[in-house]
């Protein structure tokens, strides 16, 4: 994979001094993940191009150098061909002095802005050309980008994420290299592998002077977030099916749902309404079934009405996040004793869930395949059998309000169905009658006639009659 730096200052061969690499040589450097070659395809007085060619060792990346595992899991990987964080590492190793603005022979050259152009042949860009421009143009670059095709045999698979990118600007070589160093890994935010922890710190240090005022600063910084999978998570990923796009992290999904439903207000209102219903039930021992990352739990813990609060989720990852967010291990002992998290499933009868005053299921049922709803009904209403059940689910009718959903699609990629008010109420009434509960319905969020509210809520109360 190739990075080419071209200048047209006269004499252009000064580029050799700036880079500390002689234009008439081909030099090769050993790096931890492969080799880097530096050479000059052209070196005339009016135009000079230096190339940094990265020869990544795909086997070493997976197997590591010694007994240790490498940073990648997949042999089938674009790293040998695309510009990623490995290129940043190579720039710092091979052109480190130039990036730091040092030029012992011609110090004045290093501080003089000169016309420069950088071309990256294959740059993976999540966010498309729009994001490319949003990152480079505020820094004063002119940019040309050409998208590479994915597979012409299967046009229905869409386009590739790769671009050939050329950016040009009159600046110092040091600044150009520093900005490339920081920005190249940002475009490829998917599989973000640093060779080591210290590389990341270096990366941030290189942003000094321009990153803080960059309009995309947040996004650039956010994409550095390094994801460290847990043991459980790794075990789970091994069960991923071929059709699971690894692209959809839970965080991304949550963001997407929020994006669809608009500002956080609806989620807050929903939690508020559920809290109100739970408070009204006078429950002291409550279950949050499908607690996710713990938004409702956080509110429940704040309220002294609740003596025992149990968050249950089937996703181990979600429970890990909840544990961190709620800081359960750092709460005072007495507080911590009130709340606990359980890994469990609503598809299996679970004695640990029996005997509670109330249970909340906030945006849970729509994540179940319709044929499996029957299992949830029995687990919840027949066996767990709390006195009160507060259940929310999207009102499908409302989806037309949001242009990003429309009538046909669901709000969340994992939703297996979304109910209209009539559908939800028919289900809820039938279930209530079968298991000896009474149910009342409420809308949550701004109501819009004739569509209703974006979220619908059912509050079930056990009425003492027996299960039919």
């Amino acid at each position: 994979m190739l990075l080419s730096i071209t200048t047209t200052i006269e004499p252009a061969t000064d580029l050799g001094y700036l880079l500390h690499k002689h234009p008439d040589r081909l030099q090769t450097y050993e790096l931890s993940f492969g080799k880097a070659h530096v050479f000059y395809p052209e070196a005339a007085a009016n135009r000079c191009t230096a190339c940094l060619l990265l020869d990544v060792d795909p086997i070493g990346l997976v197997r590591g150098k010694g007994s240790e595992d490498g940073p990648l899991a997949q042999y089938v990987n674009d790293r040998p061909y695309a510009a990623t964080s490995f290129l940043s590492v190579a720039i710092s190793r091979v052109w480190g002095s130039a990036m730091n603005g040092r030029c012992e022979d011609r110090p004045e050259l290093a501080t003089t802005p000169i016309p420069l152009e950088a071309r990256i042949d294959v740059l993976p860009v999540r966010g498309g050309e729009r994001f490319l421009r949003a990152v480079f143009e505020p820094l004063g670059y002119t940019l040309t980008a050409t998208r590479h095709p994915l597979d012409e045999t299967f046009p229905e698979w869409g386009e590739s994420p790769y671009y050939a990118v050329t950016v040009g600007k009159t600046t110092t070589l040091a600044e150009l290299l520093a900005q490339l160093y920081v920005l190249i890994p940002v475009f490829d935010n998917q599989k973000h592998y640093f060779v080591g922890e210290e590389e990341m710190e270096k990366l941030l240090a290189k942003g000094e002077g321009w990153l803080a005022s960059h309009p995309e600063k947040d996004e650039i910084t956010r994409r550095y977030l390094k994801f460290r999978p847990s043991l459980f998570r790794e075990a789970l990923e091994r069960l991923a099916e071929e059709d699971d796009s690894g692209e959809i992290s839970e965080k991304a999904i949550a963001l997407r749902e929020e994006a669809v439903e608009g500002p956080l207000r609806l989620n807050e209102e929903r939690i508020g309404a559920v809290m109100a219903a739970l408070r009204a039930s006078a429950a002291r021992r409550v279950l949050d079934l499908g607690c996710g990352e713990g938004r409702l739990l956080r509110e429940l813990i704040k309220d002294k009405q609740f003596d025992e609060i149990v968050g249950v989720d089937v996703s181990i990852r979600a429970l890990e996040i909840a544990r961190d967010r709620l800081r359960l291990d750092r709460l005072p002992e007495r507080q911590a004793a009130r709340a606990r998290l359980l890994h469990g499933s609503l598809m299996y009868r679970d004695q640990r869930l029996e005997g509670y005053d109330a249970a909340a299921l906030v945006e849970v049922v729509e994540h179940l395949d319709p044929p499996r709803l029957a299992a949830l009904e029995r687990v919840l209403f027949e066996f767990a059998r709390p006195g009160t059940i507060v259940l929310t689910t999207p009102n499908r009718e409302y989806n037309v309000v949001w242009e990003r959903v429309g009538e046909a699609r669901f709000r969340h990629p994992d939703h297996r169905f979304e109910w209209t008010r009539a559908e939800f109420q028919a289900w809820a009434l039938a279930v209530a009658a079968r298991f000896g509960y009474a149910v009342r319905f409420l809308g949550v969020g701004p109501e819009r006639e004739p569509l209703g509210s974006p979220t619908q809520m059912g509050v079930f109360t056990r009425d003492g009659s027996v299960i039919q």
Binding site: M1, D121, M347
Partner: protein
């Protein structure tokens, strides 16, 4: 003195310090059976005489004793236990675990105790201690029986203590040495006509010594010429027309040793009435009493006495056939089986009630059988059911003869029912139990129970017993991962009777330019002593399990699925293949019609079949993976490499000497890499084609895993191939038969032919082949062999190891790969998969099948190189 104690009991040694309790206990019991307060003190405080930890020590003692009793282990408590308040928790402990508390009192003279204590330097307490203990003992020993001890033995001097022997005897209910075969007979309730007919049908032969003898011992004696034994589940009396005759038959059989009988609640109520207790006359007792009243006066009293004696001698329940069979009138929970206590007896007679009553005013029974997880089969009656009801290895055989139903016998170990219809309705039931027409089609009790599984049967660390490989361990974190996937994505567990195992590749080829080659697979099986192998073409799609039922009724009857579906097709992790319901329906119709066309149903006497298959194209299921990974890598490579070559060649044009040569060399490397990327692109494209209807799909079945009553692991792979090839012919547009070749691994020519075929398959870019021992199950010297090994082609492996893996420097590193974890996993998963199917065809409860399926999924989450 001979001390006789039940095999399972809590023995409490009672006596002052120095009375010789520990010595006695050591002489008669295993060291591990003895829990002493001294030992517990020492464990907690490093000093067995440290009185400051006495409370903690006793808490520990009770925990240890409780755990032992729960596990059915005789336990001896060695502490002074001279005060009633010290003994009370021990009696309660025995009660909690339904075993008998036995007291052994060592009441030796105070002088003896004192002398012994004086001889021990660690017992420096004064003489008043023993004196106090001795007086406490004297005050309370008389009451030991009242405190709850069922047996009390008192030894009063050292000689007596030395001479005592301890004998352990089985409980009355322990008949585990009786091995059967048995005929278990449901509630008779005086329906003697039907009983006589049933015994005749079962093959019992009747002899009557004295037809005129109307005493209880008179009348017929039945016995089975083959030595079968009848076991009556109780409720012989009340309601029916010939109560005393029924009792005569049973009593004479019991006396003759051709039957056992456990008491029913009606029998016990009659007994109490006969013993003169004040009993309300209801629920058919009147009929029994009327029969007794009608007896001639001269025999009435003696018969009444004999009857009460016979009833009184009955034992609450029996454990038979080495513990594999338990019989009780109303059932028996696992933790009570083979134990004795008032609670056990109550449970045997009445079961457990919730305290509520139903619409008919009858007590709502707690359904112990739905929570039953025991190994022993429990046979019981008590609650009339229209059909014998199996649930979790328990069976209710009271089919309500007296209410106009039938008198049913269960043949054991055959598990076959024999029943005689009631001649008429002798008594109207308070609650109707015969099926209303519309309910007759409903799911069985087991199926209704199985519509929901219990988390306790899957979560946590598990050991699953398999026929093929003994116990297979599932780690807790793997079970947790499986719980998530099973809950979020899997199809209804009633359909999931099997998940396929992972498959190991052959050993790395000896040829340096290859990773895999069939010669290694042949060598593997030869080394395992298998002479012949089958080579099957490996299809590149997605693994698919297909369950096909003949019709909706079969789906309901056999799988308990009443959604109207007739089958399911799911992935290696249990997910449904098709989200499009219409497509799913068409798919199953097509498969079903192919199976019907060759009359698989009739030929295998089945209404369903489970097929192991590959579903193509790969792109149908893996499109996202192809797009985001395979095509992306190809696109990046194709875009990057030519540019690098051009730049290098341009540079070479202006460089000189060694620099120039280096540039040309690197350029040549990049050209070769360009070719590799092109080959990689061609490799994945082979397995992709667009599908927009059923027409695009191809299903290649390669195992006919199971049909009704049979798991076809007893057939060789050629049978599987040929049977399925015939099915495939019936639907060529969807089904694709799998080409195969047989290879004799002891014959070089035959092996060469096999290798040539592999060369041909992979030379055309095919995935390769799977080599299996010809017999479905092959055992070598060290147990089960790999059920299959894959030998993948050189080009195909680019999809696995990356476009450029064939480069020498890459390949030489890739050749080092460890297969042992993969192979052990493959065997574990294979054993679990087959175990699940076997349990399913044996009609075991779903949780037992699901345990195996869940286990396979959990093992699949083990960390292992995914490329193997």
């Amino acid at each position: 003195m001979k001390i006789t104690i039940p095999k399972l009991s809590l023995v409490v040694m009672i006596g002052p310090s120095g009375s010789g309790k520990s010595t006695f206990a050591r002489r008669h019991f295993k060291p591990t059976e003895i829990v002493s307060s001294d030992m517990c003190r020492a464990m907690l405080a490093d000093d067995e005489n440290d009185q400051t930890v006495t409370n903690d020590a006793f808490e520990l003692l009770r925990v240890i004793a409780g755990k032992r009793l729960a596990l059915g282990r005789l336990t001896v408590v060695d502490a002074t236990s001279v005060q009633p308040e010290a003994r009370k928790p021990l009696v309660e402990l025995a009660r909690e675990y339904h075993c008998l508390p036995v007291a052994i009192v060592l009441d030796v003279p105070e002088r003896v105790c004192r002398e012994r204590n004086d001889a021990r330097p660690d017992r420096d307490f004064g003489p008043h201690v023993v004196r106090n203990q001795k007086s406490r003992l004297r005050q309370s020993t008389r009451n030991l029986g009242r405190e709850g001890f069922r047996q009390v033995y008192t030894l009063v001097n050292p000689d007596e203590i030395d001479a005592a022997t301890v004998e352990r005897v089985p409980l009355w209910n322990d008949k585990s040495d009786l091995r059967g075969p048995f005929d278990l007979i449901g509630d008779v309730h005086g329906c003697t006509d039907e009983l006589e007919e049933l015994l005749r049908v079962l093959g019992y032969v009747c002899t009557i010594a004295n037809p005129d003898d109307r005493s209880l011992s008179g009348g017929p004696v039945y016995a089975h010429p083959d030595g079968r034994m009848a076991v009556f589940v109780g409720d012989l009396v009340d309601r029916g027309p010939r109560v005393l005759d029924a009792v005569r038959i049973v009593r004479n059989m019991v006396v003759a040793g051709s039957a056992l009988c456990v008491p029913g609640n009606h029998d016990m109520k009659l007994m109490r009435k006969l013993q003169g207790k004040d009993i309300r006359i209801a629920h058919g007792l009147a009929e029994t009493l009327a029969e007794i009243d009608a007896l001639p006066a001269d025999i009435r009293d003696s018969l009444t006495r004999d009857l009460a004696e016979f009833l009184d001698a009955m034992v609450s329940h029996y454990v038979l056939d080495g513990g594999k069979l338990v019989v009780a009138h109303a059932g028996m929970k696992e933790e009570m089986q083979g134990r004795g206590s008032g609670q056990v007896r109550e449970f045997a007679l009445y079961g457990e009630t919730t305290g509520e009553t139903d619409d008919f005013g009858l007590p709502v029974r707690y359904d112990w059988a739905s929570a039953y997880r025991g190994q022993a089969m429990v046979v019981y009656g008590h609650t009339p059911v229209p059909e014998p009801r199996w649930l979790n290895n328990t069976v209710n055989i009271d089919t309500g003869c007296v209410f106009g139903g039938r008198l049913t016998a269960l043949r054991y170990p055959e598990r076959a029912f024999v029943s005689i219809a009631a001649a008429r309705t002798y008594c109207e039931p308070a609650r109707p139990f015969l099926p209303v027409e519309s309910q007759a089609q409903a799911l069985s009790a087991q199926q209704a129970h199985d519509s929901l599984l219990d988390a306790q049967d899957v979560i946590g660390k598990r050991l699953i017993t398999t026929t093929l490989r003994g116990k297979v361990t599932v780690r807790e974190e793997n079970a947790a991962a499986a719980l998530e996937v099973m809950s979020r994505f899997a199809a209804d567990p009633r359909w999931l009777i099997y998940l396929p195992p992972t498959m190991s590749p052959c050993e790395t080829s000896r040829s340096e330019s290859l990773l895999e080659h069939p010669a290694e697979a042949f060598a593997y099986y030869r080394g395992k002593g298998a002479p012949r192998v089958i080579c099957e073409e490996k299809h590149m799609g997605s693994r698919a399990i297909v369950i096909a039922c003949r019709d909706q009724a079969a789906a309901r009857e056999r799988f308990g699925v009443d959604t109207g579906e007739t089958g399911v097709v799911y992935t290696r992790t249990g997910r449904r293949f098709f989200n499009d319901l219409d497509l799913d329906r068409q798919f199953h119709e097509r498969v079903r019609s192919a199976l019907s066309a060759v009359d698989l149903w009739g030929r295998l006497e089945t209404s369903w079949a489970c097929l192991d298959c590959e579903l193509m194209p790969w792109s149908a299921k893996a499109q996202e993976l192809l797009r985001s990974q395979y095509a992306a890598v190809a696109a990046a490579g194709a875009a990057a490499l030519p540019r690098a070559v051009a730049a290098l060649e341009q540079a070479a044009g202006r460089l000189e000497g060694g620099d120039r040569e280096n540039a040309l060399q690197i350029a040549a490397d990049h050209r070769r890499r360009e070719t590799d990327v092109a080959l990689f692109t061609a490799a994945y494209r082979r397995y992709c084609w667009p599908v927009d209807s059923l027409a695009g799909y191809k299903l290649a079945p390669f195992h006919l895993l199971a049909t009704e009553g049979r798991v076809h692991t007893d057939k060789d792979h050629a049978w599987h191939m040929d049977t399925l090839a015939e099915v495939c012919k019936a639907a060529p547009e969807l089904l694709r038969s799998t080409p195969y070749q047989l290879v004799d691994v002891t014959d070089p020519a035959s092996q060469e032919a096999g290798v040539a075929w592999w060369d041909e398959l992979t030379g055309n870019g095919g995935e390769g082949m799977v080599v299996k021992p010809l017999s479905f199950l092959h055992k070598g010297a060290r147990g089960l062999s790999q059920p299959a090994l894959k030998c993948r082609g050189r080009e195909y492996l680019r999809i696995i190891y990356g476009p450029e893996y064939t480069t020498h420097e890459h390949l030489s590193r890739l050749r080092a790969r460890g297969l042992s974890r993969k192979r052990s996993l493959a065997l574990g998963e294979f054993a679990l998969g087959i175990e699940g199917l076997e349990r399913f065809v044996r009609r075991e409860p779903l949780r037992r099948v699901h345990e195996c399926v869940f286990g396979v999924l959990a093992l699949e989450s083990e960390p292992i190189d995914p490329r193997l």
